[in-house]
Symmetry: C3
Subunit: 206 residues, 3 copies
Amino acid sequence: MQPKQVKLLYAVDLAGTLLFAIEGASAAIANKLDLLGVMVLAFATALGGGLIRDVLIGFVPPNALRDWRYSATAFAGASITFFLNGFVQAIPAPLIMVLDAAGLALFAIAGTEKALLFDMPPLIAVLLGGITGVGGGTIRDVLLAKIPNVLRADVYATAALAGSAVMVVGRRLGLSPSVSVFLGGLLCFALRVISVWRHWNLPRLP
Amino acid sequence: MQPKQVKLLYAVDLAGTLLFAIEGASAAIANKLDLLGVMVLAFATALGGGLIRDVLIGFVPPNALRDWRYSATAFAGASITFFLNGFVQAIPAPLIMVLDAAGLALFAIAGTEKALLFDMPPLIAVLLGGITGVGGGTIRDVLLAKIPNVLRADVYATAALAGSAVMVVGRRLGLSPSVSVFLGGLLCFALRVISVWRHWNLPRLP
Amino acid sequence: MQPKQVKLLYAVDLAGTLLFAIEGASAAIANKLDLLGVMVLAFATALGGGLIRDVLIGFVPPNALRDWRYSATAFAGASITFFLNGFVQAIPAPLIMVLDAAGLALFAIAGTEKALLFDMPPLIAVLLGGITGVGGGTIRDVLLAKIPNVLRADVYATAALAGSAVMVVGRRLGLSPSVSVFLGGLLCFALRVISVWRHWNLPRLP
């Protein structure tokens, strides 16, 4: 990749971190946590998925600890949410949903990419893409003593897994890395947005 | 070991993974999780204990991520439980209990073996055997926002720890590895089965 | 450091482990866990923070698994609490609080020190000091299916983070390591004790 592209990707990654941090901080405030709890949930939601992935593939210290910009961004998200809460609450829910879908796609694709880079088998690379996308939200819900929402409703982790799978299959079929990434990310984003719009859910036994 | 024995052990290990996955998936269905939740709980229950052990001893990527057969088996267990639920529910509870005791013994012994291989001190090897046996079920209960059952009732983790301890002590006393493994596994299995049959519980303060 | 100092630090570290184990075991008994649950919560509370830190910085197997004295101490704490429960319950609450503040300061400082030793950036070293101090209690609360208390009330993690930050800043300003450690530890301890005494809490949104 060109240096310009690398810089762009890095900026997009930090933007996703900021958004996920704001969502984690909002959940903390809704559950009456104090300022420290808001900080911790922002950190966990934004960086938890990548932390789990990096520990599992053996990339320690994880990226989020090597580069202080990630935690600084997470704390910036927490601070904005806490100190400018009226402003954050005024963001329209559909906009948050669309941005979140974009963040999910980005995290899933980035996680799959890194797993492939570390020579994980294809099935595992798909799983690690999913974990990167939804691991942070899962830790957030566990810390809130709730069954993680991703296990119960919505097409969310499924969108991440589908996008990761398309990306891995694309590579195997000989598509160029950037085309594979684009197709996988697009599928994840579209599947997530459409599923919210059409109220799709996964099957569940009665 | 002979190649035949290695193959047998591997098959038994995958059988244990399948069984634990079915138990995790059943718990997910009982808690009204959707298909994705069923998959995740099957994966966590079947592979969680080994994942924690491998991360702690520094064997990363963990075995469950190096060899895709483990996750494929976990997902097979989840699929059987979800799509053939009538069939799975028809399995008699005592049979599940006995199979589960066998799986527990196998996981505990395998975990202890690996810990010793990585030069852990004896006490730690016993603990890691216990973690391998009950770690998956603990993660499952945490994801269901419940106090892990293993901390509250039954002689379950205790059976795993006792079997691991016997195995470690047997080695120290100079018994051959296979005799130690056999004695430890047998004790874990027998202790678990007898404790269910006789309604044994650990002491608890009032 | 002189060998004498190293021995003293090691003894103090084990004393902190014992105290945190007693607190974890007491929480387990209050929640009606059985003897195994008491052991597990003692272990998790006393050693969980250091385990997370060591896994994240890539120091595996973690210290608590390399040196069996740590788990032996945790189990000693659990046994004392379970078998001599009348004695443990007779310890005055203010004494426990002051000892706990000392343990928190010690764990935070030790965690920060180790993070710096592993070349973590300053901000990350502060976070890892906080995680070392409060990670064990957080795991304990998650296993009890409760929102971790540290996220909701009291100046506890905040004291750990403040102490770690002072220590890191002290080093940067060129103070000697032992002066930095002393100032950081003292701040953490004093902040914690004063906040309990004055009923301080962090801000929270309505």
